[in-house]
């Protein structure tokens, strides 16, 4: 996701990116002997506890972050016990699952936290033994002084170490990566055993004593008002104990980590409190609420389709929103012009753990158990909603049953807190699946009318896009934006994007590799069309387009979120060429294939990662598409943190993208989302999922994240494979396979 980059950077620095490491050693050290920082505790009995502070949403941070600390602490992974942190920014720094930002912003910091704790243990041993610290070696949670033959366990020195001042960050020596014993290895997730035995881990599993269960009736149309409700029928449902009317609020704009302009709304509605979730949901249905009006009452996919077609006919609202060089003149003089229209739909996140939150409000304090990607935002929003100070709000950070960007927003936390205050007892609020679809923060749909100018050899010399998407007050919403950081801007010098904004009143948000997840399909598909127009191979054409290895400056957008040595990160055509060539080699690009079978290739850069993939697929006579295999080559810098988790992220991302390409679409009618469950929003299933081969190229660049960047290049590679198999170019997501019959 794209986030408020300035905030991330600021918080990252504050949280110990550089000189301020010491502050976070302070508060926790007073707690107990052996507590070396907020992240590392070594008990007298030898237990080594490392705190995992990031929200775990399936991206593997609860394992990978403690690995970073453990490596530099110089302990064995088997000796480590990982402890889940609460959401406390003043203690842990940024706690944020978004933007694939955690690894690039915190990798060095986590290593320094491990190195700091190790340095304190070494210093304690040096003082105890009267020897220079520099002569002490460590390994497997042991300290050794070879010259005198002395050794001690970390546990023996931990109490003394915790009384020492925190070391100066600049004195810390980090390991040579060649000596890594944990980083880069395959380490299974620390919660795996709990997952496979059904232990309570997720937000929805929270059961504080005395908890009651809540459902919340609210308008399916954003901003709709309650017209009528059958309260007596709801109260007659066995198990239903009480109803509470909740008033709308629109003043809860406290996001600090998520770069949206801020419609954080607590909707009007009726909360149903019951002894169990089933009764609460039945009670909600029995209310048979009638709603009227709403800001979004005008929203209709059919009307938007017509508006987009009209905008293409009449011309853009905002000509030349991005205008590099002189694309129009280059087009006029081009040897050949290629035109195509592309479009893609709204998408929902559809995380498998339904949206939920558990809250208790008592004695001027609130406690919440949350599956959230942004615990600090939740804390501040709940505080504002309840009129409390953030310090009076405790966030138990639970494992999320999927995030994908949905849980960057904390509307559910506010609802639960307000309902719990009204009920006067702890309350677990659960949305059903239809509410999850109806009240999501959607990936916006969009339309691109593209025109490219080719020179005599067929190379692209000009690119013109009339882009249509959604916003308010004549401005595209951030998740619907187009900007000059997006390929091929920068690589194709004469680049122009015109913009038309369609009005929207409901909520848009960040979905896995936002913006990129749509633009890669459009851009890479159109590049294929340009290659085909001049009879060139899709791989060779891309090699020519990337040109010689060079660093092309791109928008500041991509530079703010990384460690200092990555600041100003440009687009490296050489890194992209590297993954492109590797993916092609893995797949055996150019092989002879059977009839109605094809291969497609695509690449994309997002979230600081370079990805290319090849898809091989066949198309049956009835138009059904069968994927045979996907090959992915990835470059996320010099160090893979956890090889097992990294590979899992990439495989999952491309199969997730496959599901979206083959069938996912959110549509509106009469102001409301039409889809209600997975039956009309299909995800990829076991029988859809092909083998996925993954290779990582190690390049001498900073280590970056993997939650998102493998996703965008799948759909265009699949479209390319389908084209080769059938001669049909699919320009619209999701794919309409009825066009593919033999």
């Amino acid at each position: 996701m794209r986030l408020n980059r300035r905030a991330v950077l600021r918080a990252g620095v504050l949280a110990g990116g550089g000189l301020s490491l010491g502050w976070q050693l302070g508060p926790a050290r007073a707690a107990a002997p052996g507590v070396l920082s907020a992240f590392v505790e070594i008990a007298a009995d030898g237990a080594i506890r490392i705190t995992a502070h990031q929200p775990e949403i399936g991206q593997g941070v609860k394992t990978s972050f403690p690995m970073m600390i453990a490596e530099e602490l110089d302990v064995d992974w088997a000796q480590v016990h990982v402890v889940q942190a609460q959401g406390i920014r003043e203690l842990y720094g940024v706690q944020l699952a978004g933007g694939s930002s955690a690894t690039p912003t915190q990798f060095e910091r986590m290593r320094r936290l491990g190195a700091a704790a190790r340095a304190m243990l070494v210093e304690a041993a040096a003082r105890a033994w009267g020897v220079p610290a520099a002569q002490i070696t460590t390994g497997s949670a042991m300290l050794h002084h070879t010259a005198s033959g002395r050794s001690a366990r970390y546990a023996d020195m931990a109490a003394a170490a915790s009384a020492l001042p925190a070391p100066m960050p600049e004195t810390l020596a980090l390991k040579d990566p060649a000596a890594f014993r944990i980083l880069g290895k395959r380490i299974p997730g620390v919660d795996n055993r709990a997952v496979v035995t059904g232990a309570p881990l997720f937000g929805i599993d929270a059961r504080p004593p005395g908890v009651m269960h809540a459902a919340f009736a609210k308008s399916p149309v954003f901003g709709g008002k309650l017209k009528s409700a059958n309260r007596a029928a709801a109260l007659a449902v066995p198990g239903v104990k009480a109803l509470f009317d909740i008033a709308e609020r629109r003043d809860l704009k406290t996001q600090i980590d998520v770069g949206l302009p801020g419609i954080e709304v607590l909707p009007q509605g009726i909360a149903v409190i019951a002894t169990n979730t089933w009764a609460a949901l039945r009670g909600r249905d029995a209310l048979a609420c009638q709603w009227e009006g709403g800001d979004a009452a005008f929203q209709s996919s059919a009307a938007w389709e017509a508006a987009a077609a009209k905008a293409w006919r009449d011309g853009p609202q905002k000509p030349g929103t991005i205008n590099h060089g002189d694309a129009l003149a280059k087009l006029a003089g081009a040897a050949r012009r290629v035109k195509a229209d592309y479009s893609y739909p709204f998408l929902a996140h559809a995380a498998l753990e339904p949206i939920n939150a558990t809250a208790e409000v008592k004695d001027g304090k609130a406690t919440l158990w949350l599956s959230t990607q942004t615990p600090e935002d939740a804390r501040r929003m709940v505080a504002l909603a309840l009129g409390l100070k953030p310090q009076d709000v405790t966030i138990h950070l639970m494992r999320s049953g999927g995030g994908f960007g949905r849980r960057l927003m904390n509307d559910f936390a506010v609802e639960a807190a307000v309902i719990a205050r009204a009920a006067g007892v702890p309350v677990k609020l659960t949305w059903d699946r239809a509410q999850d679809f109806a009240h999501d923060w959607l990936r916006p749909g969009g339309w691109h009318r593209l025109e490219a100018g080719l020179d005599a050899r067929g190379d692209i010399i000009a690119w013109h896009d009339h882009f249509i998407s959604f916003g308010r007050n004549g401005t595209l919403d951030p998740p619907a934006a187009i900007d000059a950081s997006l390929f091929p801007a920068g690589v194709i010098r004469d680049y122009r994007a015109d913009v038309t904004v369609l009005p929207l009143a409901s909520t848009l948000g960040w979905l896995r590799a936002p913006i990129n997840n749509a633009f890669a399909f459009v851009t890479q598909g159109f590049i294929d069309e340009c290659a085909h127009a001049c009879g060139r191979d899709a791989l060779d054409y891309r090699r020519a387009l990337l040109g010689p290895p060079r660093a092309i400056p791109i928008a500041e957008e991509f530079s703010g979120e990384t460690a200092a040595d990555a600041k100003g990160t440009p687009y490296h055509t050489g890194r992209m060429r590297g993954v492109l060539d590797r993916a092609a080699a893995m797949a055996g690009w150019g092989r002879t294939l059977p009839a109605r079978t094809g291969m497609g290739i695509a690449f994309h850069f997002s979230h600081l990662g370079y990805f290319a993939n090849v898809v091989e697929a066949s198309v049956a006579a009835d138009g059904s598409v069968k994927l045979h295999k996907i090959w992915v080559a990835a470059d996320v810098g010099r160090q893979i943190v956890n090889l097992s988790g990294a590979e899992n992220q990439v495989q999952g991302s491309v199969i997730d993208a496959l599901g979206a390409a083959m069938g996912q679409r959110i549509s509106f009618a009469d102001g409301a989302v039409e889809q209600r469950n997975y039956g009309d929003f299909p995800l990829a299933r076991m029988n859809d999922a092909p083998p996925v081969a993954v290779e990582f190229l190690a390049t001498d660049f900073p280590t970056t994240g993997l939650g998102e960047p493998a996703y965008p290049s799948l759909a265009p590679a699949l479209a390319g494979a389908i084209f080769q198999a059938t001669g049909k170019r699919l320009r619209q997501l999701p794919f309409d396979t009825s066009q593919l019959t033999a």
């Binding site: 699946r433 999952g652 997730d656 469950n677 039956g679 299933r685 076991m686």
Partner: protein
């Protein structure tokens, strides 16, 4: 009414129409069985009745009768269950992990009936269980590893 859950008879005061899912989660505190879609599309609520995988959200408690209910909390009582759990951990199958209880109960029923499943057997038995993180590659590999164990 009394339910036979993971080898124990348990008294539960549930509305007869209440789906087994909610009796397990909210009345008995067995939260390992997961709510996903409430309509039989996702399989997150998969439990076994007399060894057959069923959707907990589509099974009223009154329909259970004396059938033996196996939930994820009781999976370790099965030799196949233990092999699957070990394979899931070793191959690092989970991402978010939310679907995996249902996946494991479906996989255990598969291996009991078909100890050496083909890819087609795995597709047939497992395609009712959604994994939103799309860990299918590893689920398939872990089933095969458990079958070989």
């Amino acid at each position: 009414m009394k339910l036979n859950i993971n080898g124990k008879l348990v008294e539960v005061a549930a509305d007869p129409d209440m789906p087994l899912l909610w009796a397990l989660r909210d009345l008995l505190g067995l939260t390992g069985t997961k709510f996903g879609c409430g309509a039989g599309f996702c399989g997150a609520c998969t439990v076994q009745l007399d060894g057959e995988p069923v959707r907990g959200c589509q099974t009223p408690v009154s329909a259970v009768g004396t059938a033996r209910i196996t939930t994820i909390e009781g999976l370790s009582a099965s030799a196949w269950g233990r092999k699957l759990q070990d394979a899931w951990v070793a191959l690092d199958v989970p991402q978010c992990g939310y679907c995996q209880a249902g996946q494991l109960l479906a996989a255990e029923a598969l291996l009991r009936a078909t100890p050496k499943p083909t890819d087609a057997d795995i597709d047939a038995a497992m395609s009712g269980n959604l994994c939103r993180c799309a860990t299918y590659t590893r689920i398939r590999a872990a089933i095969k590893q458990a079958a070989a164990a």
